[in-house]
Symmetry: C2
Subunit: 186 residues, 2 copies
C-alpha cells in the first residue's frame, strides 16, 4: 500500500473509532498502572479461545509464542506511539491473518474478547472513580477499534486479491489481459 493510502486509511480509521490525541495521551498516562497486568488479559483471551473449536488449528503447539506476541502488542496499546509505523504494522498483521487463512470473524471476535478481558483490569485500577473508568474504557475501545479497522481493511484487500488470483488460475487468463478487459466498458 502506498504511503498516501496508509495516511488516508489512518485518518478515516481515527474518525470512525473516535480515536484522537486525547485518547492516546490517556492510554499513555495509565500505561504504567495497567501494563503489569496485561499478561493476565492475554491469559484470559487465550482461555476464551481454547473453547472455540475453529480456533484450535491456529493455536496447536503455538500458544506460548502467540501469548508473548499478544502481550507485547497489548503493552504497545498503552504506550504508543500511534504513528504511521504502527498503522503499517497493523496493516501487515491483517495480511498475515489472510495468509494463514484465519477466518474473518477471528479478528472482530478477538477484539471483543480482549476488551471484555481488559474491562475488569481497568475497573480494579480505577477504585471508585467512575468518571476515570469511563474515560479510560472509551479510550481503549477507540484504540482497539482503530487498530481493527486497519487490520480488517488489509485482510479484505488481500482476500479480494487472492480471489482474483484464484480466478486467473482457473481460467488460465493473464493478469494483464484481465486488467485490460476489466477497464473496458462492457
Amino acid at each position: 500500500m502506498e504511503t498516501t493510502e496508509i495516511t488516508e486509511l489512518v485518518d478515516s480509521a481515527r474518525l470512525f473509532s473516535g480515536f484522537s490525541s486525547a485518547e492516546e495521551k490517556l492510554l499513555e498516562e495509565v500505561g504504567p498502572e495497567v501494563i503489569p497486568h496485561l499478561s493476565r488479559v492475554t491469559d484470559e483471551f487465550y482461555k476464551a479461545l481454547s473453547v472455540v473449536p475453529k480456533a484450535q488449528q491456529f493455536l496447536d503447539g503455538r500458544t506460548e509464542k502467540l501469548k508473548t506476541t499478544h502481550t507485547n502488542w497489548l503493552e504497545y496499546v498503552f504506550r504508543g506511539p500511534y504513528d504511521d509505523k504502527y498503522a503499517a504494522a497493523m496493516y501487515e498483521v491483517g495480511h498475515v491473518h489472510f495468509q494463514v487463512k484465519l477466518p474473518l470473524e477471528f479478528m472482530e471476535g478477538g477484539m471483543t474478547l480482549i476488551l471484555g478481558a481488559l474491562t475488569p483490569v481497568i475497573a480494579e485500577s480505577c477504585g471508585d472513580d467512575m468518571q476515570r473508568f469511563t474515560r479510560i474504557l472509551c479510550a481503549i475501545n477507540a484504540a482497539l477499534g482503530f487498530s481493527l479497522i486497519i487490520m480488517q481493511k488489509s485482510y479484505q484487500l488481500s482476500t479480494l486479491e487472492g480471489e482474483l488470483d484464484n480466478f486467473l488460475q482457473v481460467t488460465g487468463m493473464s493478469r494483464k489481459l484481465f486488467d485490460k478487459l476489466s477497464q473496458t466498458n462492457l
Copy 2:
C-alpha cells in the same frame, strides 16, 4: 444461507464474543432503565458520523430515517431475544451494506462509536456501582461483537460473490463453466 449454516455461525459468534445467556439476561434486565436514553446515543453516533467525509454520501437526506432504524435496533439490543430470527436479520443487514457499497470499515467503526456513546449512558445509570457498570459494559460489548461478527461475515460472503460476478462478466464465462473448472485439480 442455509439454516444449519446460520446456526453454525451463531454458535461461533457467541463463543468469539463471549455472549452467553447470562449477558442476554443482564441486558434485558437493564433495558427499562437504558432504553429511554437510546435516542441520545443515536444522536451522538450520527454526530460523530457527520464529520467523516466518506460517510456523507450515505447520510445525505436520509439521516432522520436512519436514526429511527438505528434507535429501534439499539432498543432491540436491550430487549432481545437473540434468536435465529435476530441472527438472520443481522445477516441481511450485512448483505444490504454490501449492496449499497458501504465500505467495510463503516461496520467496525460504527460499533466502536456506538459502544463509546453507550458507555457514559450506562455509567449514569449505575451511580457508583462499579461492579454493575463493569458487568453491563462487558455484556454490551459482547452483544455488539456478536452482532458485528454475523453482519461482517455476510458482507464478506456477498463481496466475494460480487467479485465472482464481476469476473464472469469481464471474461464472458458462464457460472456453470467456472464452477466446473474450479472443481478440477489444476
